[in-house]
Each structure stands twice: as structure tokens, then as C-alpha cells.
Symmetry: C2
Subunit: 421 residues, 2 copies
């Protein structure tokens, strides 16, 4: 996180700012409501006039004006008079209360309109006071906040027809691997269609970035080096998929070296994705993800997400952590911490999490239903159904830093609930 940097900002029309991250604080530039106003259709009156009003002693007031919302009265409310007022209209000078339309009797003679009131109305009754909702100068929305419909309402209220937001960083996704066909190509013996690039592209777009797709088809060092360089020049960060394992044709470590990129790590004690490499070159990030779909998926959520979001000053750039009950045995032990794609649901009062589909790093079908990752700290044995486990979710608000959650520590490996039949 120490290497993260802020993205540029741009101004967008309010109607195009949905879900973007605001780059300025929003401060109330006036009170809300901006004036005392009527919350109902009724009559603005001088409350003192109704002090002795009752069923047997109705008070009669002369109606001297009528104002709709958006209009202002042409005169004051003096004792003995009233002004007809619509919801949202400004309380006329002199009036200190509103009586609802339904509670008065309206009458007219040849020249004038009158109302009759049969109850006492207190001072300030039915007035929405200037500033009661929000006072001028109040900090309403902080820089780094996602623009929701509610925030759009706030921005409109205060006249932000242009909104300053963080630009979407451009993420280059470079697929390597001679086995990859593009999505429109027919299957060929020994080859598969490239699904990782499209999947990561969708993940990265959902994080608020833009994507440029690159495809490298040859397995030779020089042309791949040129490709990575070009990709770095044309984008704000680069994700490569494939070519980071230990096989004969894995050139990425050599390429990082040739670029003189600073490699932050090139192995990580986790499954899937142990062969993930993360490097920084001239302030730009390089993520080398394995070619396995689940490793790609997990790598994007764990490593790419916080870099994109912290660049927009979001204070919760990581996946959110919650706890849930494991719905089925997970017998496979592993010395490394596992991130298992899973489905989180609510069952009666508790959250329940079920591993999704085939648990192999090459599995594609497990991606259909998965809405979270189960985190299983490494250890010498598997996990029993009923265990309490930590779950990372890319939906909702995120977290500041999930990695110190107590369920992530190895000690909790021993905590297994009673096995159910």
C-alpha cells in the first residue's frame, strides 16, 4: 500500500457521476431548507389570533393572499389575517404557524375570503425551519466517497451541475499463452478460449477502472518484453496473466529484471495464486497473475482492488471481511492459506458459506455462483462443516485493512465445531 498513488481527477456532469468517487469534500453552501417553509397545504397565520379559539368560539381570519410553492407572499400576515400556502412555500413575514387545510372552514362574502378556525394553534406549529435539515457550512460528503443516489440528491441541492471525481485509471490486461484463442475463435485441438482476460476486465471495471486488452501469442522473451513495455506506456498499470509459473516458457521474471522494475514479491504463501508477482516500475504497478482462472480472480480482488481504490482516496479499499459458518466439510489440508471461491447466504439467523463448484484452480464453473472467498488459514488438517470461518466479500463497503482479523490467524485452525451428520 506504501506504493499506491492518487489518480487524476476530472469534472463530470452530475448525471454522469453515478458510482464515481468524488474528489472534493462537499460542504453545505446554504441552509436546508433555505427558508422557513410549510410542510403542508394550509394557511399561514399569526398564532396569537387562535389563542382562545374553540368549537364554540371559532376565530375568523381574512385571507389576504394565496401562494404556491416557489412563490412568495405579496404582503405580511398581520393579526386577523391569513395567507393560503402550499406545501414547500415560504412562510410569509408575520406568520408564525400553519394550520392544515383540512382543519379550517373556508368561506367568502362578496369581496373577501375568510377562514374559520376552531382550535388553538401554537407558535411554530407546522413550520419547517430554515436549516433544520442541514446548516450552511456543514461537511456533508468526504472526498473519496462513492456517489450514490442520495449523494446525487445532495449535489443537486447545492448546485453541483459539474462534479469533480477521480479519473478511471486505465488498466492494461496482457494475456500470455500460446494456448489461448480469442472469444470469437473456434476451438482447436489443445487450445482454449481466453476467459481470464475478460473476467479480470469485468472485475477491474467493477472497481471503477477502464481496461485495455492486449494479447501476446508468441512465447519468446524479446517480443514479450516489447509487449509489456508498450502496455506500460499506454496504461496506468499492467496485469499479465500466465507465464509466471516455473515452466520452460515463463519469461516474466526475466522481463521484470530487464525493465528494472522493483519486485515487491514474486511468491506468496497462499492458494490459489502462489506464483503471483507484484512489481512497481516508475510509479506504475505490474501484477503478474498465474494463468489459472481462480488464481486470476483472487489476485485481482486481493491485490489489484486496493491499488485502484486507494488511488481514489477511498478509505475502505480492501474486500470486506465477515464471518460465516462453513456449510460443508473442506477436507483438503494445505500448508498455505487458502482463498476458496464460495457462496455466502443467510440461513435463519446466521451467515452460511458454501464452497462453489469444483475446487481446482483451473475451474471456471465455480465462478458462476461465487460471491465471496472463504479464507482458510493454512494448517495440517482440513475444516469441518460447522466451523466458523472468515469470508472476504467484494460487494458493499469494503474494509480498511482486513488482514488482522482474528479468524485469519493460524490458531483458529484448531477451532472446529461439532461435526453434524
Amino acid at each position: 500500500m506504501a506504493y499506491s498513488r492518487l489518480w487524476d481527477t476530472e469534472k463530470l456532469p452530475l448525471v454522469a457521476s453515478d458510482d464515481r468517487i468524488i474528489a472534493t469534500d462537499v460542504i453545505a453552501t446554504h441552509d436546508v431548507p433555505p427558508f422557513n417553509r410549510s410542510p403542508y397545504d394550509g394557511f399561514a397565520i399569526f398564532s396569537e389570533d387562535t389563542k382562545h379559539a374553540s368549537q364554540n368560539n371559532p376565530v375568523r381570519l381574512k385571507v389576504v393572499d394565496a401562494i404556491g410553492a416557489g412563490h412568495v407572499a405579496s404582503c405580511r400576515v398581520n393579526s386577523g389575517t391569513a395567507i393560503r400556502i402550499m406545501t414547500g412555500a415560504k412562510i410569509p413575514d408575520g406568520a408564525d404557524a400553519v394550520i392544515m387545510l383540512e382543519l379550517v372552514k373556508e368561506m367568502t362574502d362578496q369581496e373577501n375570503s375568510y377562514i374559520e378556525i376552531k382550535r388553538s394553534i401554537k407558535k411554530d406549529e407546522n413550520i419547517s425551519f430554515q436549516g433544520e435539515d442541514t446548516q450552511q457550512g456543514k461537511l456533508l460528503v468526504k472526498q473519496g466517497t462513492k456517489i450514490t443516489p442520495g449523494i446525487v440528491a445532495i449535489l443537486a441541492t447545492f448546485g453541483y451541475h459539474l462534479v469533480s471525481v477521480y479519473k478511471k485509471p486505465v488498466v492494461g490486461i496482457l494475456s500470455t499463452g500460446t494456448e489461448l484463442l480469442d472469444v470469437h475463435e473456434d476451438l482447436q485441438p489443445g487450445k482454449i478460449r481466453n476467459s481470464n482476460a475478460y473476467m479480470i476486465a469485468a472485475q477491474v471495471r467493477s472497481m471503477g477502472a477502464e481496461v485495455k486488452l492486449y494479447q501476446h501469442k508468441e512465447d519468446d522473451l524479446d517480443s514479450l518484453y516489447q509487449n509489456v513495455k508498450e502496455c506500460l506506456e499506454e496504461t496506468d498499470m499492467v496485469i499479465t496473466t500466465g507465464g509466471v509459473s516455473v515452466g520452460d516458457y515463463d519469461y516474466l521474471p526475466a522481463i521484470y529484471e530487464k525493465l528494472e522494475a522493483e519486485v515487491l514479491f514474486n511468491k506468496i504463501a497462499m492458494r490459489p495464486g502462489s506464483v503471483t508477482t507484484v512489481a512497481v516500475h516508475e510509479g506504475k504497478w505490474l501484477f503478474g497473475l498465474s494463468g489459472n482462472p481462480s488464481a486470476c480472480f483472487v489476485g485481482a480482488e486481493l491485490f489489484v482492488r486496493p491499488v485502484i481504490l486507494s488511488g481514489m482516496k477511498m478509505n475502505k479499499p480492501h474486500c470486506a471481511v465477515t464471518k460465516a459458518i462453513l456449510a460443508s466439510d473442506f477436507p483438503k489440508a494445505n500448508p498455505f492459506t487458502r482463498f476458496v471461491r464460495a457462496t455466502l447466504s443467510e440461513d435463519c439467523d446466521q451467515k452460511v458459506v458454501t464452497p462453489a463448484g469444483l475446487d481446482k484452480s483451473s475451474s471456471v464453473s465455480s465462478l458462476i455462483e461465487a460471491n465471496c472467498l472463504i479464507v482458510l488459514p493454512g494448517g495440517t488438517r482440513g475444516w469441518a462443516k460447522g466451523s466458523e470461518v472468515a469470508v472476504l466479500s467484494w460487494h458493499g463497503e469494503g474494509s480498511e485493512w482486513p488482514w488482522n482479523h482474528p479468524l485469519f490467524s493460524k490458531s483458529s485452525v484448531t477451532k472446529t465445531a461439532e461435526k453434524q451428520p
Copy 2:
């Protein structure tokens, strides 16, 4: 819901289909993996050859070919031979197991390469079998499902470079009210900026629709009628805000009558939003929401959302319902069911919900933090801190039909937890 209809469909490039609702079932058109493949870098062998292999009795095999991912072997693996194979490559004919690179000793003489194996390898070891992830013909994604990154991966795998999705319906939002300034205008006495239209627009876009904004500034029946008619002709459904109350300038009921629209309801026992009108005219929906921000907000989530989403065959078109503990007293009793904008969070093991900001239907500030609605069934008394309440959320998956949740019934009004200091 009986009046809902399906929107049209369109074909989009895969990279433009994020978050859209798929309009066809997706069926696996081939097995995944499409062929037996190697999950590791190693050597494809004939397992029988290693039957008696051990530390003291190493077996030596001649390496007859080397294949990278995407390539196919030029010959078979016969007894006594092996083929070097990279992760993802197709298992050559004759081979029935793979031994990992790290477990063999490689050697060459003048003419040939050999490997030495010091353990027995079982038949089928280290082979990812054709169809083990997904079998041809399997229904993977149902029509009416939102396209997530995982589903993008599936679509890419099966060659969907064009994806059939539901078209975004066009929602006309017609603001009425002479008090409304547009967002770029300076404040004027008695007037406020139109925040409702922009807010509802953002809500409706987040539901997957497009928006056309209309503004009506005069308060006369004929021009408003013309405006509503025009708006109906140019869009798939119309939301009006304001002008549906009981005041002097509320023309919408008359307009529905003049249109000969079928009014489904024009009052509803809820707060805010009791003056909501919903009508259907020639198959198009008309939603008449009050001019109050919170009534608009709630009306869009409760009434507009299911119409937009069921038109895309989503099987959970309504807000999702969950339960939570009320974090503060809500003393105001009301005979009607209330929908209180609130903030849902997780506190230790339970969900906690707190009313957001000023609880007035005119409040704008309460929209900033609100991420859900508390549902408080009507009754003769308020609600105590600690009560278990139902909460509606527009985040996540939604629900089929939330309205039969037990917490929505009036009887639960009496269920109040002990008051805490």
C-alpha cells in the same frame, strides 16, 4: 406485478455486457476442460513403466517430444518414453499420468534426453480430465441473471463474443412544481433546486434503466397533460414527482383520468409516500410520486424497482429483506407502516440498524448515509432501542417477494426488547 411486461432484448459485445441481465440461457457447448490436460509442468508418461520405481530402482524414460500449452504432441507416449508437457497442454495419446518437473532428474547423452523417476506414479495422476469441471450440455446460467465477472468468464469460455441482454427501458422523469430550480441555477427566494429528479434518475440507472429528464414549470392542467402525454410517448414508463397531494395545484389525478389510464392505487397506507399513485396506460407504467425527497426515494425502491427488474426476467426483483436490531428509540407512533431511511451495519455478531439523519419526509441529509429502509409496521406506539425490525435493502441480490416476512405484520409491534440506558 400482474401488469409487468418484458423489455426488448439486444446483442452487445461481451466487453460491454457487465452488469446487464442476460436474455438467454447459457448452456455448455463443449466440455471443460475440452480435453485431458496437464495441471502442472512435467512429463506425460505411461504409468505402468513406474510400477517398480523406487529410490534404489530408478526408472529411465526417453524424452521423445516437448509440448507447450496450445500445442499437441507429434507422437504417442509408448512404454519406455515420456513427453515433456507444460501446464494446460493436452495429454498425448498413450500417456495416462503426469509426473511433476520437480520430481524427475533430467539427463542427456549425445543424442537423446532422458528422465529418471524414483517413485511409482499411479494411473490418472496429475491429469485434469475432459469435462471434470463442466460437461457439454449443462445449463450454466439462466436467462434473467446479472452478468458478473464470473459469468463473463463463462461466456468467454464458450465463445459468446456477442451476448443477448435485456434492453435498458427508458424511464421518463417529469418533475412538476413551480418552486423548482434546475441544478445550475442560483437560489431565489422561495425556490429550491430540483434534487428529486437527479436522485431518482440515479436510482433508476442503478436498477439498469436509462433516464430522460423532463421539467414542467407551469401549474396548469392542459400544459401538464400535454407534457405527460409527450413523456409517455417518448419513454417506456413515466415517473412524475410532485403534484399528487391534495392542494390546489395538484393536477395529476385529473390527468390520469383524461388519459384514461387505469389507476391501480392512488393512496397507500405507508409513510412516507402515502400520496403515491400508480397507473397503467396502454401497457406503460405511470408512477406519481410525491415531491418529498424521502417519499420519492422510497417510492422508487418499492414500486419502480420490481417493474424494471421483472421486465428483465430477474427472479428476485424486489428489495431484499433482512432483520436487524434497532440501535436507537423511534418514539413517533404512526398508524401507517413506516419506511425509515437508515444505516445498516454489523456490530459483533448482529446486524444493527440506525435511522439516518432527520426523520422528515422533506429531509435531504438523511439520504447521504442511508443504505436501507427500516420497516416499522403501523401501531399505537413507537419502537424501543433493541427491538428486532425488518430492513429492506437495495444492495445485493434482492428478493422474490418481501411482503410476507413475519416482521412486517402488525403483531410484532408489541415485541420490544428491554430498554437500555
